[in-house]
């Protein structure tokens, strides 16, 4: 692999990722069998999502940077929503409100015949003139990729001309069935073109690869005298360029950070935190301990952990009395679902099932890293109803109806409505940072408690709703009928 290559291989090739599984959790964690799971597709599917979208969750929100989306207008159609997110998230983080600096090259039919390179050059120039960015990302697209526009050369030429990094991001939707491949594509571009070798180590700085999210890691790491370096959304180009100086790297979700943290370790010697992300009490303990080891804080960490446990205990006990035994179904991730599972355990709730949106059979650093699903099984015990499904509400509906949870926890757009239509309160984990650390357990508990209040309106929604699914499908017992055809 390596950063000399223009592209990083997609996850189905690199991590043997799958988008279908139905069974128990433990069976999926057996390293001996990791390669025996084939990437099987369903013969009928509802819409998935693509790498370009995931790349955008990273590149659109870099401060002082701008993005050219080399595509027709549809690939650019998320940007109004992204603009609102950028503004709200910067306020939440305690920064000045910012907005997306994005341009679409607006590929037309002519460009698919004669090539769209001139248009792209013009867009990059215009992007520079309009925003005066410190870096420009260039997103490829299905149309640009299939007709073979040479983005690599164009980016190199424009970089020379403009004197700022012009970063190609190979996030063509058709290249991968795993939308998370788009994270890797964006990070790969950033590592190739923006990250510089460390001038000096910042011994108290911990890289946190996250999404748009609030500042919850400062209080958490602050307890052992460390600072978070939030990457990449809401960080500036300058901040990103120095990520090689941190004491270690972690992430809010292994799925998000697997590639970039490994490459930082291999290329710049920044150790990757191997223990799962700090969600739930025990994982937060382990996470702090490992980080303390990289930063020379072993002497204080145990005391901090003890004090933190004491601090949250009263609130936690109060929440447990309300939430104990409530049945939870999690539909998220890959790894983020495991994080939520860890929190759910602390709240005394019963995990009746879990569906992840894909599953990476390997981690980028599997020889040294810990498989978050295996860790969850160790922590919680096996999860009997464990499935992998790339959205597909027609299937997930059956799973929910079988499991009959009290609460569903979701991390993907347009999926909570499925719970809603079934009358089940559904928590959208849109902002993940608030669920991290010790306080994250309390926050999640409070959010679930409040969420229960939506039962009234959801009862009405359920009553008034009509699903489009046929009697034949409703009578089918197996949610995964179309995988077996």
């Amino acid at each position: 692999m390596g950063l000399q290559q223009s592209e990083v291989p997609v996850r189905e090739n690199r991590l043997k990722s799958i988008i279908y599984y139905s069974g128990n959790a433990a069976a999926l964690t057996d390293p001996q069998k990791a390669d025996s799971f084939v990437h099987k597709e369903r013969s009928y599917s509802q819409c998935s999502d693509c790498a370009q979208m995931c790349a955008g969750t990273i590149t659109y929100f870099v401060r002082n940077a701008a993005v050219v989306v080399h595509s027709p207008m549809g690939c650019f159609a998320n940007t109004p929503v992204n603009d609102t997110q950028f503004r709200n998230a910067s306020l939440e983080r305690g920064q000045d409100p910012d907005r997306v600096h994005v341009l679409c090259s607006n590929i037309s039919e002519n460009d698919t015949v004669y090539g769209g390179i001139r248009k792209l050059q013009k867009a990059v120039q215009e992007c520079y003139d309009r925003f005066r960015p410190e870096a420009i990302f260039v997103h490829s697209s299905c149309a640009a990729g299939i007709v073979g526009d040479d983005i690599e050369d164009t980016a190199a030429d424009m970089e020379k001309k403009l004197g700022v990094p012009v970063v190609p991001v190979y996030c063509e939707g058709f290249k991968s069935k795993i939308w998370s491949s788009g994270f890797d594509a964006a990070y790969h571009g950033i590592l190739r073109k923006i990250v510089k070798p460390a001038e000096h180590r910042q011994k108290d700085l911990v890289n946190i690869f996250n999404f748009l999210g609030s500042d919850t890691f400062t209080p958490l790491l602050g307890k052992i005298g460390l600072r978070p370096n939030y990457l990449v959304p809401l960080a500036s180009v300058e901040t990103i360029s120095h990520m090689s100086e941190a004491a270690c790297s972690s992430q809010i979700c292994e799925t998000l950070g697997t590639y970039v943290t490994k490459e930082l370790e291999d290329n710049y010697g920044v150790p990757k935190v191997k223990t799962p992300a700090p969600f739930g009490i025990e994982w937060t303990d382990n996470w702090l301990r490992e980080i303390a080891g990289y930063t020379g804080k072993e002497n204080i960490v145990e005391e901090v952990i003890r004090t933190e446990h004491e601090r949250i205990r009263p609130q936690l006990e109060e929440l447990r009395t309300v939430l104990k035994g409530k049945k939870v179904y999690i539909f998220a991730g890959d790894s983020y679902a495991h994080n939520v599972g860890s929190i759910v355990r602390d709240l005394g709730m019963e995990l009746v099932g879990m569906t992840t949106l894909h599953h990476d059979m390997h981690s980028d650093s599997s020889e040294t890293g810990k498989d978050t699903l295996a860790e969850l099984v160790k922590l919680y015990g096996d999860i009997e109803h464990y499935t992998v499904c790339n959205k597909q509400p027609y299937q997930v509906k059956k799973i929910i109806e079988e499991l009959r949870p009290d609460v569903m926890i979701v991390r993907h757009m347009n999926m909570t409505i499925l719970g809603g239509k079934l009358g089940i309160p559904s928590l959208l984990e849109g902002e993940t940072n608030i669920s991290a650390g010790y306080d994250g357990v309390i926050t999640t508990g409070k959010r679930i408690r409040n969420l229960m209040e939506t039962r009234g309106i959801l009862k009405t929604l359920k009553e008034y709703n009509q699903f489009p699914y046929s009697k034949w499908w409703t009578d089918q017992e197996d949610p995964f009928y179309f995988e077996k055809k």
Partner: protein, 455 residues
């Protein structure tokens, strides 16, 4: 090379017309495209259209082949057929529309043959190439409607023309965020003058039975400058149905009256019936209007009178005309954002200058909203007067930071309002537009006391 770049999207690509299919009750799109295409369309023309949700079969429920490498290299027809099989099996729909995106469009999958094979077996399946690079979702909408007419409605054939039955072709569902309320009000007003409308989309439509009934209409009605004209012409050719093209989407008392009278005359409705309805509606409208007169009288010096329009020509012209004709606004600039093509551009320009000669030289066909904003900002800095901008959520800061101007969210994206059945169409819509414009005076404490308004 003309500027075709876009900062601040105000429309999506041709595939956005899956929302047109979803607007037909029990309409089921089947997308033959890459894995993220359908989700992008919904983010724009669903979420960013005032949080209009997935409804019956939209959003995450949209069928899609999620085409990747295999289909791009070896062709995707086999996978498409499997997907159509599945969709027909599991989704209760009345019409299924296969829509190709960029991947299938470039490699040239024969989706027409696939649809034809299903039709041969008796399934209501239509196919249309809506690859994103072909154009925007206004074009996509026309392609979808015309494909349904050619491949589905044509097969139903003409039975018996029913006098008083009219098919309505108007704004683009979802791209006009107020489409549901608009169609409801259009239907109500047509009913008011004695016509029965196949409204074709939304809660007010009976669904596919209305499409089946299209050939039996007495006439087709196209409301707006250009969207729908090609469909009406197609129907004239296929079924000899005459059509009336009323180029102004009417808003307010005066234009709605003209609109109904012209339709009444065209449809040979008994004129007394038309006049009775208009009279009743006007009496109500005037009563409401007068009761709002106190506010105008008290706050005269603080009200906005300058108008900037940043919308498609359909809604933009209708609302602007009402503001000019009945609310006394001065037209400053009109930006038609929908990229309607040169012939339509000429027509739109002519229409606007006929409405008000002050539009001469102040009409721009521009879809890069950044360019539009820069121009309006310069103007507002010069004039220093509070103005009304008929724009989108992109323009919120532009309005508030320049002379406390008022933004009416007329075009997409609309990300800071929830839209259910609101409409600015016709009699009721005119009054709603007045409510929204003048309520904005009180936003963020602009005016706190009617007698001591000091601005």
């Amino acid at each position: 090379m003309a500027n075709t770049l876009v900062e601040q999207a105000k429309f999506t690509c041709a595939l956005g017309s899956i929302q047109t299919v979803l607007a037909i009750p029990k309409g089921i799109p089947i997308v033959h495209a890459g894995p993220g295409c359908a989700a992008r369309q919904f983010a724009f023309a669903g979420n960013a259209a005032g949080y209009q949700g997935e409804g019956y079969a939209g959003g995450g429920q949209i069928s899609c082949t999620n085409s990747t490498q295999t289909e791009v290299i070896f062709g995707g027809e086999k996978k498409l057929r499997a997907n159509v099989d599945g969709a027909l099996k599991i989704l209760n729909g009345d019409i299924y529309v296969i829509q190709s995106g960029c991947t299938a469009g470039i490699i040239g999958d024969d989706i027409q043959q696939v649809a034809a094979d299903y039709r041969d077996e008796g399934y209501p399946v239509v196919a249309v190439d809506t690859a994103g690079f072909k154009g925007n979702n206004y074009l996509g909408h026309e392609l979808v409607v015309n494909a349904i007419i050619d491949q589905y409605v044509a097969g139903k054939g003409k039975k018996k023309i029913r006098k008083g039955l009219v098919n309505v072709f108007s704004s683009v569902p979802y791209q006009d965020a107020y489409w549901r309320g608009d169609l409801e009000e259009i239907k109500r007003e047509l009913q008011g003058i004695g016509l029965n409308a196949n409204i074709l989309y939304g809660p007010e439509s009976a669904g596919i039975s209305e499409w089946d009934d299209i050939p039996n209409a007495q006439f087709n009605l196209v409301i707006g400058p250009w969207v729908g004209v090609s469909s009406a012409k197609k129907l004239e050719q296929k079924f000899q149905t005459p059509f009336l093209h009323y180029p102004i989407f009417p808003v307010g008392l005066k234009e709605t009256g003209r609109f109904l009278r012209e339709i009444g005359a065209f449809a040979q409705v008994e004129s007394q019936r038309v006049e009775n309805f208009i009279h009743r509606e006007e009496r109500k409208f005037k009563e409401y209007f007068v009761s709002f007169g106190d506010l105008v009288s008290d706050l005269g010096p603080y009200l906005p009178y300058q108008l900037y329009t940043v919308a498609d020509s359909n809604y933009g012209i209708g609302t602007s005309k009402f503001l000019i004709e009945e609310l006394g606004f001065t037209p400053e600039k009109f930006y038609a954002i929908e990229s309607p093509g040169s012939r339509n551009e000429a027509f739109i320009s002519e229409l606007l200058t006929q409405i008000d000669s002050r539009y001469e030289g102040n009409i721009s066909f521009q879809y890069d909203n950044r360019v539009i904003q820069d121009e309006i900002r310069d103007e507002l800095k010069k004039t220093k007067v509070r103005s009304v901008i008929l724009g989108s959520s992109w323009d919120k800061k532009l309005a508030t930071e320049n002379n406390d101007s008022i933004l009416i969210r007329l075009s997409l994206p609309i990300t800071d309002k929830v839209i259910i059945n609101k409409s600015y169409f016709g009699y009721r819509g005119g009054l709603t537009l007045m409510e929204d414009i003048y309520s904005s005076l009180f936003d963020e404490g602009m005016i706190t006391n009617t007698t001591h308004a000091d601005h």
